[in-house]
């Protein structure tokens, strides 16, 4: 141990704020990146699953849009 006490460890002879800011930002950014990536992976996986589950339930029938070009009735009450 290079320090005599825990408070000395925190203070680092006056360099504490610099060192700890750096470590804090490092840990926060790295953890944030890990968290964000994991969350995105999960969201993507769920989206895949949902669409495949839906397709499995409905069979292969795809909705087919046919253009009719009829005017849309809008009630004017």
């Amino acid at each position: 141990m290079a320090f005599e006490s825990f408070s000395a460890f925190l203070a680092m002879e006056g360099h504490g704020p610099y060192v700890w800011t750096c470590y804090a930002v490092f840990v926060v950014l790295l953890a944030g990146m890990v968290f964000w990536s994991a969350k995105r992976h999960q969201a993507t996986y769920r989206m895949c699953k949902r669409s495949h589950d839906q397709q499995a339930r409905k069979g292969q029938a795809k909705p087919k849009a046919a253009a009719t070009f009829t005017r849309v009735e809008i009630s004017q009450d």
């Binding site: 006056g14 360099h15 890990v34 990536s37 992976h41 895949c48 699953k49 495949h52 499995a56």
Partner: protein, 247 residues
């Protein structure tokens, strides 16, 4: 040979391999990084010139290492993308660019904070910091280009071209910035590291560099898996994978 190459490019194959290695990468990375950082913070001896502020080195140097090597890795993958059109290569380029940007930012930030107690100023137009800043711009450009092209495959190939152009430029930029630095500044600030480090400082540094590389490997695998799922979501193997509930 070609079959192997083809297999190497297959996203399905990658999924299997990544799943097998990821726990090891994560565990190894966390343990090594934690060991390196704790050792560096609490047990390594004080630097007789810079005092305790030098302990920033244990995150600054690994971040800078990764920032540069990720760009080189991206450029190698870019060659593979453009020459062999291997699917995995462009997935890699796209997936790791934000990670590279983060490490570049970390290297710059820790460098600036380290500069305050050492040089008495947050920022000096030092050759190394300036090159790092330009690397940040290069990453930023690659990500901005990627975000503004809708089609994933075109985006990946466009980014590959940009990254290749960037990597040709990096030595030129580095050389010219060094030259510019000597032209404009007498070498007053020259104490980032002592030429020879004590063993007690060197080993934790090595540990944290290795740990961060492993952690990057894990992150890259995870992000590549996400990207592959997005791209291949309508293929049969993803369908089977998802319906079976495996991750």
């Amino acid at each position: 040979m070609w079959q192997f190459f083809h297999k190497l490019g297959s996203p399905k194959w990658f999924f299997g391999i990544a799943n097998r290695f990821m726990p090891w990468l994560l565990a190894g990375g966390l343990i090594l990084l934690a060991a390196g950082l704790v050792w560096g913070l609490a047990f390594a001896p004080k630097d007789y010139l810079q005092g305790n502020s030098y302990r920033i080195i244990f995150i600054h140097v690994p971040s800078a290492f990764l920032a540069q090597s990720i760009y080189i890795m991206m450029a190698s993958a870019a060659v593979v993308t453009l020459v062999w059109r291997m699917k995995l290569a462009d997935v890699f380029v796209k997936s790791v660019a934000p990670v590279g940007l983060m490490f570049t930012f970390l290297a710059l930030f820790t460098g600036a904070v380290w500069g305050k107690p050492t040089w008495g100023t947050w920022w000096v137009w030092d050759a190394r910091l300036t090159s790092m800043l330009i690397l940040l711009f290069l990453y930023g450009g690659a990500i901005a280009l990627d975000r503004s092209i809708n089609d994933e495959k075109s985006a990946a190939r466009a980014v590959a071209v940009l990254v290749l152009v960037g990597v040709v430029n990096i030595p030129i930029i580095k050389y010219s910035v060094d030259w510019w630095n000597t032209l404009h500044q007498p070498a007053t600030f020259k104490l980032t590291e002592k030429p020879s480090m004590a063993m007690e400082m060197w080993v934790p540094l090595l540990l944290s560099v290795l740990g961060l590389y492993l952690l990057f490997g894990w992150l890259a695998c995870l992000r590549m898996k996400t990207e592959i799922l997005v791209r291949e979501r309508r293929t049969r193997w993803v369908k089977e994978l998802v319906l079976a509930g495996r991750k």
